[in-house]
């Protein structure tokens, strides 16, 4: 059987007494690009946090590469091959771009030169700015550094939280081009996004969350043609 890379089985997550995720089932296959869509406060980020281990589900299981990671710490999961581009990027502002990349490779004790050259080939702009403080970069550049940093650990699956947030429309387009290029390079993706239109043009499959429940799922093409979804999120 073809094992999914990441799988959430019947996950229920609570913040204190508040039930956030309700019986969420979700999986990402190897090499797949999955978009997680939904409006405000529907549990998109919480799903990502559950996958990453920042939130431990009350019931249900999380599998990564066939390993039960439900109660595993964040660091362990990342060592297994997860990487995250957090919401708002969260770069280390006063540290140089190079140091940010070094931290991205913190998991592997010996950072290979290949990692750097691969990332620098992909992002010449990041290479140029390597000695600059990350906080002094423009929004688009910071996004590149955030992705580059995540790639430094050679992840199998990249989790991205709102890659379009805080970017100019032009840069959003660029950002998604970048993401799909990465995907073409062999990295599986789970991308949380409000900009459903944009996400569905590049994704293979999509899930739609509504108040903590998955209400729709399917190939991206089908989803973007779904009448209900179009009315609710795509605005046309």
């Amino acid at each position: 059987m073809n094992q999914p890379l990441l799988e959430l089985r019947n996950v229920d997550t609570f913040y204190g007494p508040i039930h956030i995720l309700q019986k969420v089932n979700l999986h990402v296959n190897k090499g797949e690009f999955v978009a997680l869509l939904g409006g405000n406060a529907c549990g998109k980020s919480t799903t990502l946090k559950t996958a990453l281990g920042l939130v431990i589900p009350k019931s249900g299981e999380v599998f990564f590469n066939g390993i039960d990671v439900t109660n595993m710490k964040v660091a362990h999961r990342i060592k297994l091959g997860l990487a995250v581009v957090p919401e708002n990027r969260r770069l280390f502002g006063p540290l140089s771009v190079m140091e940010n990349l070094q931290l991205g490779a913190y998991t592997n004790k010996q950072t290979s030169k290949e990692n750097y050259s691969r990332v620098f080939d992909l992002f010449p702009r990041v290479a140029e700015r390597r000695n600059q403080m990350a906080g002094t970069l423009s929004g688009g550049e910071q996004q590149m550094v955030a992705v580059a940093r995540a790639l430094m650990s050679n992840p199998e699956l990249l989790l991205m939280d709102e890659p379009s947030m805080g970017l100019a429309p032009k840069l959003v387009e660029q950002s998604f081009e970048m993401i799909s290029e990465l995907h073409a390079g062999g990295v599986s993706m789970l991308v949380v996004e409000q900009n459903a239109n944009m996400a569905l043009t590049v994704a293979d499959r999509g899930y739609v969350l509504q108040t903590g429940r998955i209400v729709l799922e399917g190939p991206a093409k089908e989803l973007s043609e779904d009448e209900e979804l179009r009315r609710a999120y795509l605005g046309r």
């Binding site: 990453l52 502002g93 702009r125 906080g135 688009g140 550049e141 032009k170």
Partner: protein
């Protein structure tokens, strides 16, 4: 971005555009003499950059026979050790540890316990110093373990309490009644501390002169600086700095945050403990009053003044905080320093050379007008040679009117100065500029008439004012990086 650039961008890969191509050309070259000099300095190898100050410091004992100067050097050495330790915890790991001085105290007391007649123990230094380092490290770990989940302000409160607890323990543990003993045990000597502590000795050489401690601490500080520079770029240092910046993001990088925090506490504590042992040996005694809050404030002031996390910064900060108060013990020096501070402060504030000249001219005029008014009213005054000497006398003597009743006039001027400054802060820029000559004159008048009479108090006042001016000009500290927010 024009269409043409866009096309270029797509052919060269993600994020390539004219910025990358123009990178070299966009680097600004320094234009001023100072800027060029700084640029030159920056290109020198690190060995030369650090070697020059080191040679100067090595020469000092041969140029002076004054024990006082060497003693300041020893104090500075101890202070730099403490700042290096504090920098690891606060500057790198971002843990606001307000109980840091307690580790200094624990180190001093532990050293005294095993090398004084207090318990009749006299261990050789090669055992007692490692003993102090290990015990203070354990205490650091003991404080860190319950505090590891506290962040920011909460950690500050917990550690501040720890620091005060140490003081209470040190002062009150002079009669501890253990159930298995008949007599209460005197552990710390109470408020009088522990006198006659052994001095450090290695291989038959006892450190018993100020000069010997000067070189000992110089050696330790050099090692400390090299170690700090290595840590800064190491995997460990990187992990600490990332954690200090953003704990959650550091966690995402798989930095073991809890372990790193405990390590920062432990290493910082053991460095402070070692400094404490040296201190006890230099003093040949330990007294609880050394480890009070003012020392903590001085340490933080040095660290913040120099710029958190910067090695040259913390040394300059330490020099300012240790040497400056000593210089200000002499009224002559403090007089110069005050005038220079006022001068530089107002230049920074005004920001335009033409206006600076105008304001200073007006200030001088205000002084003479005030003199005339005082004379017309008939206020009795002191002749010049009764209140000022030295090179400043002919200038200040004619410009400043020195009333006979210095206290009365000085106090009035002081209150007036505070009121005027408070009033000024609510006014527009224009009004402030017009009021400036009067304020400057009033400040100098207050200083000469009243404040210079009590150097011990004005010393603190002047250091405070200096710090305010410096921090206003460079909020990130002398060598710190300016803060940027990641949005």
């Amino acid at each position: 971005m024009s269409n043409q650039n866009e096309q270029e961008a797509t052919t060269r890969g993600i994020g390539t555009d004219e910025w990358v191509a123009q990178h070299e050309a966009r680097i600004a070259k320094p234009t001023t003499a100072m800027g060029k000099l700084a640029d030159r300095w920056a290109t020198l190898p690190a060995v030369v950059q650090w070697g020059i100050p080191l040679i100067v410091v090595l020469m000092i004992p041969f140029t002076t026979s004054s024990d006082y100067v060497l003693r300041i050097g020893v104090n500075l050495g101890l202070f730099i050790m403490l700042v290096i330790g504090l920098n690891l915890t606060v500057g790198y790991a971002g843990l606001l540890d307000l109980g840091f001085v307690a580790f200094y105290g624990f180190g001093a007391y532990f050293y005294a316990f095993v090398s004084s007649p207090q318990f009749g123990i006299s261990w050789p230094s090669w055992i007692s110093l490692p003993f102090v380092v290990v015990t203070t490290a354990i205490i650091g770990l003991a404080l860190g373990t319950p505090s590891r989940r506290l962040a920011g302000d909460y950690l500050a409160i917990a550690t501040l309490f720890f620091g005060q607890m140490f003081l209470v323990l040190a002062v009150s543990s002079d009669a501890v009644q253990f159930p298995w003993m008949d007599e209460p045990l005197d552990i710390t000597g109470g408020p009088n501390g522990i006198p006659s502590v052994d001095q450090i000795s290695f291989l038959g050489f006892t450190f018993n002169s100020t000069l010997s401690y000067y070189f000992l601490l110089l050696g330790i500080v050099v090692i400390g600086i090299i170690a700090t520079r290595r840590i800064h770029n190491s995997r460990q240092g990187l992990a600490w700095r990332s954690m200090g910046e953003d704990e959650l993001a550091a966690q995402h990088m798989t930095v073991p945050v809890v372990r790193m925090k405990l390590m920062a506490f432990t290493v910082g504590a053991s460095i402070a403990g070692l400094a404490g042992a040296f201190f006890a040996s230099v003093q040949m005694g330990v007294y609880p009053s050394t480890f009070k809050l003012p020392l903590l404030i001085m340490l933080y002031a040095a660290l913040i003044l120099g710029g958190l996390g910067s090695v040259p910064g913390l040394i300059i900060g330490a020099i300012v905080m240790v040497v400056l108060p000593e210089i200000l013990r002499f009224p002559d020096y403090s007089n110069y320093l005050f005038l220079v501070t006022v001068l530089i402060g107002s230049i920074i504030l005004i920001k335009s050379w033409k206006l600076v000249v105008a304001v200073f001219a007006a200030t001088i005029a205000v002084g003479f007008v005030a003199n005339a008014i005082f004379l017309v009213v008939g206020v009795p005054y002191l002749p010049i040679d009764e209140w000022i000497e030295g090179p400043l006398a002919p200038i200040l003597g004619t410009w400043i009117f020195m009333p006979e009743e210095r206290l009365l006039f000085g106090n009035i001027a002081f209150v007036l100065l505070i009121v005027v400054i408070a009033w000024m802060t609510t006014r527009s820029k224009r009004v402030r500029l017009f009021a400036m000559p009067f304020v400057l004159w009033l400040a100098i008048f207050t200083w000469e008439v009243r404040l210079l009479m009590e150097p011990s108090i004005t010393r603190q006042l002047l250091i405070g004012a200096l710090l305010v001016v410096l921090m206003a000009a460079r909020p990130q500290g002398l060598f710190g990086k300016p803060r940027v927010e990641v949005l």
